[in-house]
């Protein structure tokens, strides 16, 4: 009996050591997943894509009934808006064409705004709510790489955290910490743009913290749009992140922090677009070297 007790304690201790070693391994500075992890993720991802469709169908029946009730009112409103947009579309097309022509005359065809969209469907969401992750059905085979921005039609939702061959994992904005910063801007007339960094997601206020680094922060208004600035080198410029909710001074009173309400709905995400910036990083790396 004495022997068995010792053996039991021994096993628990070994388990604990394995736990610490594994956590250390996975939290360490690693760029992508190891091969067995990728293989398991792809296998599970394949099985999930099989099971996801019927579950989604069943879940949708209930929300569809809810939606039907509101359809009439929404339809009225949307029709009004649509007529306004028609004029806008024409205007945008004109401006785009003009922009392209001007760029050609300047011989500067690549811009940090350009990107190749990769369409993907969401397959699962992590049940562990402290880890805000999604799994999507596109991987390295489709050209997805780590750190690419992920958007929906409404705005930015996150970035690619890890990739495997056929699936990849998206870190949502709501799970961003101080290691995932986004260089962002609020666009103003006359070159008085406000620049800053989206630093992290604050759970108490349910908003992103936008640290403003410029001095011109005096007249920040509620409801202004915050977009990515493209200066970080990874995300393209012009992706909508959210709207300003409130401006508060930081703890030292030197800079100001704007609370940003994310534009995209973080809970009902079904289809996403992965943003592959066309202006590739190799060039920016070289630029950094020469500087």
């Amino acid at each position: 009996m004495q022997f068995f007790r010792k053996k039991r304690l021994f096993i628990i201790l070994i388990g604990f050591i394995i736990l610490v070693a594994l956590i250390g391994f996975s939290l360490g500075d690693r760029k992508n997943l190891s091969t067995p992890e990728q293989f398991i993720k792809d296998t599970v991802g394949w099985a999930q894509s099989v099971i996801h469709t019927p579950v989604k169908f069943a879940a949708n029946i209930f929300t569809n009934i809810d939606d039907l009730k509101n359809t009439y009112d929404e339809n009225k409103l949307l029709k009004e808006k649509l007529s306004q947009y028609k004029g806008l579309i024409y205007e945008v097309q004109e401006i785009k064409e003009e922009n392209e022509q001007l760029r050609k005359t300047l011989e500067k065809t690549e811009s940090i705004r350009d990107f190749n969209p990769i369409q993907a469907a969401v397959m699962s969401r992590t049940p562990e709510r402290w880890v805000e992750q999604l799994t999507i059905n596109k991987g390295e085979q489709d050209g997805v790489k780590t750190d690419m921005a992920v958007i929906t039609a409404d705005g930015m939702v996150g970035k690619i955290q890890t990739t495997s061959e056929f699936t990849s994992t998206v870190q949502l904005l709501t799970g961003f910490d101080q290691f995932n910063r986004i260089s962002a801007t609020i666009s103003r007339k006359d070159g008085k743009d406000i620049f800053g960094m989206i630093e992290e997601f604050d759970e108490e206020t349910n908003s992103l913290l936008f640290k403003i680094i410029e001095e011109s922060d005096k007249d920040l208004k509620k409801g202004e749009l915050v977009v990515s600035s493209g200066m970080g080198g990874v995300f393209p410029a012009g992706l909508l992140i959210g709207t300003v909710k409130e401006v508060v001074p930081d703890q030292y009173g030197l800079t100001r922090t704007a609370l940003i309400k994310p534009a995209a709905d973080m809970y009902e995400i079904n289809n996403v677009i992965i943003v592959d910036r066309t202006l590739n990083e190799a060039k920016t790396d070289e630029q950094e070297d020469t500087e």
């Binding site: 610490v20 397959m123 049940p127 809970y267």
Partner: protein, 176 residues
């Protein structure tokens, strides 16, 4: 062939945990309450009560394997669920020797299992800095809703699997 039933069912639960949130109404998901599906753990509690004999530890082994699977697929931090599930199921395995297997005992053991597992996961995540939720908030917003939701799931599952697991246990474990 029949020995593959248990791993297959467990694998199915691992997969369906990923779409579990979509089954809940959006209002509940968007609120402050955090409901975490521990379906794999619930089924492992069943396995440990009805399938395992006193000298076999299949449930603990499955706990480690499928815990690791959850770690890889859903959290990216390896070892947390693996260690937690194996440890908790080991404790459940020890406790079930003292009690008779019926619905009340299953509920009690399921309750103990969920509380212990979630607590250990919270502790580990807190230590490595994945969450900064204070203990009081954790108790109100996460533990209570999670326990209620999972016990409901346990009650739904109970009639389906009790007899089957006992049958499989007799077929597979008596002659080995």
């Amino acid at each position: 062939m029949k020995r593959l039933y248990l791993p297959l069912i467990l694998f199915l639960f691992v997969i369906s945990e990923g779409v579990a949130l979509e089954l809940l109404p959006p209002k509940l998901v968007m609120s402050d309450l955090l409901i975490i599906p521990h379906w794999v753990l619930i089924f492992l509690v069943f396995v440990s009560i009805f399938y395992d004999k006193e000298q076999t530890y299949y449930s603990v082994l499955y706990g480690a394997i499928f815990g690791l699977l959850i770690d890889i697929v859903y959290t990216g931090v390896l070892g947390v669920y693996m260690f937690t599930y194996a440890l908790v199921i080991y404790i459940i395995h020890g406790l079930k020797k003292l009690l008779h297997a019926n619905i009340h005992v299953t509920l009690l053991l399921g309750f103990i299992g969920i509380v212990l597992a979630d607590l250990v996961i919270y502790l580990i995540f807190f230590v490595i800095g994945l969450t900064e939720m204070p203990g009081k908030d954790y108790l109100i917003y996460r533990v209570i809703p999670t326990i209620l939701a999972n016990l409901l799931f346990l009650l739904v599952l109970y009639p389906f699997f009790k007899k089957r697991l006992i049958k499989w246990s007799e077929e597979q474990l008596t002659n080995s």
